[in-house]
Amino acid sequence: MIALKLAFRNLIGAGLRTWQNVFVLSLAFVVIIWHRGIIDGWDHQAKRDMIAWDVAGGQYWHEAYDPYDPFTIQDSHSPLPTVWQEMIDQDKITPILIAQATIYPDGHMLNVKLSGIDPYQNILKIPTQELEVEGEDIPILLGTRMAKSTQLAKGDLVTIRWRDANGTFDAAEAKIAGIFKTNLPTVDNGQIYVPLERLRQMMQMPNEASIGIKAVNLEEPLPQSGWIFRDQQYLLADINAILEKKRVGGSILYFILMSLSMLAIFDTQVLSIFRRQKEIGTHIALGMTRGQVIQLFTIEGAMHSILAAGVAAIYGIPLLTMQAKNGFAMPASADDYGLAISEKIFPVYSAQLILVTVSLVFITATIVSFLPARKIAKMNPTDAIKGKLQ
């Protein structure tokens, strides 16, 4: 109790010195939590984007379909199960027909994946409504990466050549009806979106599809013969594995940042306590035991971190909340470096992250106060009183 009272008195009495230490320590709290929040937010966003643009509530795959084997595309299509029709009408499932084709932008040849998708679908975030155009030319939709690599712009014409269900090659002019921007390269690179009915006609595959995308809020319908349901967990397995590896890397960075902060705290505390050895010697001369001195300075260090957590909360909570709400704008050129980065990253701060960070800083601040205090309390008090460095 006396140690608590004296430690509090020391902190208040030290005035600006205390608040400088507390502010620096609070910065460590906020920066560490903010940094980790950005990384976690980035990871969450990657998953959210995958679900919004590609996975939705899961996918029904034609039994022959294997996205990692292009040779399966030719055979992975069949008429839709009759029970799906009602759900398609209710926008609970959207069928996609997948085919291979070649385009010739500016005289160059490029193999692409054609995805026939319902322009009226609302399950995926792809802006397929841009495909709702009348005309002779086949309306197609591209992502910005694809448009950039093919140097195609909205309104441009490009020749498409494909082979239909009967093995006959055919070709036609396609017009770029729209270009969309997405954070997800897998729905952009090497892909062209075509109205579903148009692709069915091109491929001679009436009422057929390769996959069916299930809406997020739809309960899983009964299994259909010839179709395999892949749930979110299956479809997100790769991204989960990547995020898990990133988490390990992120943890290393977290601990590096934490260690740097701890080093700063340690330096401050050691310097502070060694500068105060005359004070410690005086405490002993006035009747304090070594244990009481160690206790006093350790509590003082721990109180620094408690005050710092309070100060960090005062300016950190509004600051971090605002960032979590408004997002952290990434530079416009970040996408050019080949990184799939959204325009804004929304940090995610978990209770676990905050608790672990606060606890680690608290424990470390306590330890780094205890160690030098113990060393000085062991000094010959007659030397400590004179402030002699040992």
Binding site: I2, K5, L6, R9, N10, G13, A14, G15, K278, E279, G281, T282, I284, A285, L286, G287, M288, T289, R290, G291, Q292, N380, P381, T382, I385
Partner: protein
Amino acid sequence: MNNGHIINIEGLIKRFPVGSGFFTALDGIDLSFGKGEFAGLVGPSGSGKTTLLNIIGSLDSPSEGKATVMGQSVGELSHKKAADLRNHNLGFIFQTYNLLPVYTVFENVEFPLLLLKMDKVKRKKAVMDALDWVGLTDKVKSRPKQLSGGESQRGAIARAMVKRPQIVLADEPTANLDSENSHHILQTMEKLNQDLEATFIFATHDDKVIQYLKRKISLADGKVINDELTPNRT
């Protein structure tokens, strides 16, 4: 306590390691101090007076011989017991005042009473009494850096005296003070010695202090070369 003495020193030797050998700071000291003495250890630098004061104050321990303070042998005390002895019976006055810089004058003087776990009302009264003895009641809220040298030393005296210790040890208390402040400080301590009957032991080579002493113990090369009562002060 032996023969009414509160401090007994017998055959005290103190050696400090220096390089591969030892330096003998105190060499066979035999001394006793009774209650209410106003005594001084006098001698040039290196004569051993501060070392002897530190041993009496249980901040250091003898290499050989025995130093008994308030019936307790300093060399045999644990750290905790030594702290207890200092806490209850000893007051220190340092050359550089050693006021705790982050505390006010009131808090500095209050500090020893907090260690004694005295209740708040008694504590406040004791602190104000002590500040009154030294004439610092107008500086209760000042911090040490706002005080002059004389005021700082008066604050240190109040801190040493506030718990009414049996023994007050003052190491060169006037070394950093001008003549006027030195006399003021010494008169204050002399009065406290008379009023509170505390034993004052000084370590000094300052003539201003020496003229106030009732007993002068001269040290040279770690030995007592003279121990006399000062006639005009006794």
